[in-house]
Symmetry: C2
Subunit: 229 residues, 2 copies
């Protein structure tokens, strides 16, 4: 057993389809020791925090850390404020209403701090530009610029070789992401994607996130186990 020599990674884990697949990839395909981080940021879809904890356990996260950060106080997003979550893809042009101001900038910054305390250099994020091209903070250019800022502004950057932001899903379609996850044994019944679930946590079936998830499963002619569970 030389577990201590294994590469360590912090995985941003919302408990959704993408981040769960990214964790499976990092843990099973890369064989990295994974530390998971989730954010309690005042999101409507808080059920994802339960999903996140369950997924972390299944993929043997070395430590699952939930960080409370009050983005609701800042507002400006359909995911944290009184703005309605758009349904049925009515307005797909530009930056979606579900964009949360500077979310990945904030989440990656907190992940970098966590990585520093657990001795990890890799930050794994399920960012994707195929389905959600409207989110600026999912683009490769942003991830590169973030890495540079983190390297210049942290102890890991100055003293420990710097960070690597790894985005294994960045150019995959939703169908390809699901195929990757299924090939790694991911049980998607555990994951939660809906931006606007009902009180029982059931997906609305109409927000962008539900739309892409349904389309992804349909493309590969699979049933979403979340809907049949």
């Amino acid at each position: 057993m030389q577990e201590n020599n294994k590469t360590r990674a912090v995985v941003l884990l919302s408990g959704g389809l993408d981040s769960t697949t990214a964790l499976a990839w990092a843990s099973l395909k890369q064989d990295w020791d994974c530390y998971t981080i989730a954010f309690d940021y005042g999101q409507r879809h808080r059920i994802e925090l339960e999903a996140s904890a369950q997924v972390a356990q299944v993929f043997k996260s070395k430590r699952h850390q939930v960080i409370a950060v009050d983005l609701q106080a800042i507002g400006g997003s359909a995911l944290t404020s009184d703005i309605d979550v758009p349904k049925d893809m009515q307005d797909a042009a530009g930056i979606p209403a579900t964009y949360v101001p500077a979310r990945n900038l904030i989440f990656l910054s907190l992940a970098a701090a966590f990585a520093e305390t657990v001795g990890a250099n890799k930050l794994v994020i399920g960012a994707n530009i195929v389905d959600y091209s409207g989110y600026p903070d999912c683009r490769p250019d942003f991830l590169t610029a973030f890495t540079r800022a983190a390297d210049l502004g942290t102890k890991v950057g100055v003293q420990a070789g710097g960070f690597e932001v790894v985005a294994p899903l960045i150019k995959l379609s939703k169908a390809e992401i699901i195929q990757l996850g299924l090939s790694l044994g991911v049980d998607y019944a555990m994951t939660r994607s809906c931006y606007d679930p009902d009180a029982a946590g059931q997906p609305c079936g109409h927000c962008d996130s539900c739309h892409f998830r349904l389309q992804g499963f349909a493309e590969i002619k699979q049933q979403d186990p979340l809907l049949s569970s």
Copy 2:
């Protein structure tokens, strides 16, 4: 009155000597409409949050926003964890124990989110490299890299001309910062700098922050009004 045409800035306001001076500069010398942001991050020196709210009021902050972000859960710093705050400058080499992992990266990210919702492009920070050269996240290179990441990862960057991070104190000595503040009428009795105050909020007089503050006032032959108040 054309107040709505005034430049808007978000000022990171800890309630300490530096950030208070930066706010005075932005508000009185630049005549910007200032929105202030403070962070409740599990710091030992929570009295700074009260100072911050008072300073915000004195300098007519348009909105003072306290954001809760649980950095104590991440740990790794004398300011949030069980590590002792170093006294009497025993170990000034390298990165100090009072370094908080990725703090300015996290705080600037949250400030960028706040700026986005209030329509501000400028982020004002009291970062300084003269006294605290050990903190990587106070260096100009970091601030430049952060600006680039924020521009690529936010709506302001993509649609509204981008951010400017302004660090008016970056190359000033503590004495010069105090002189600037006094010339703008800052009452330093309001501000709190100590990393490790007692239960009544009184400064310890021995941590790095107290040390530089005392030295700064001594250099310009002034009495720190906090100590005589």
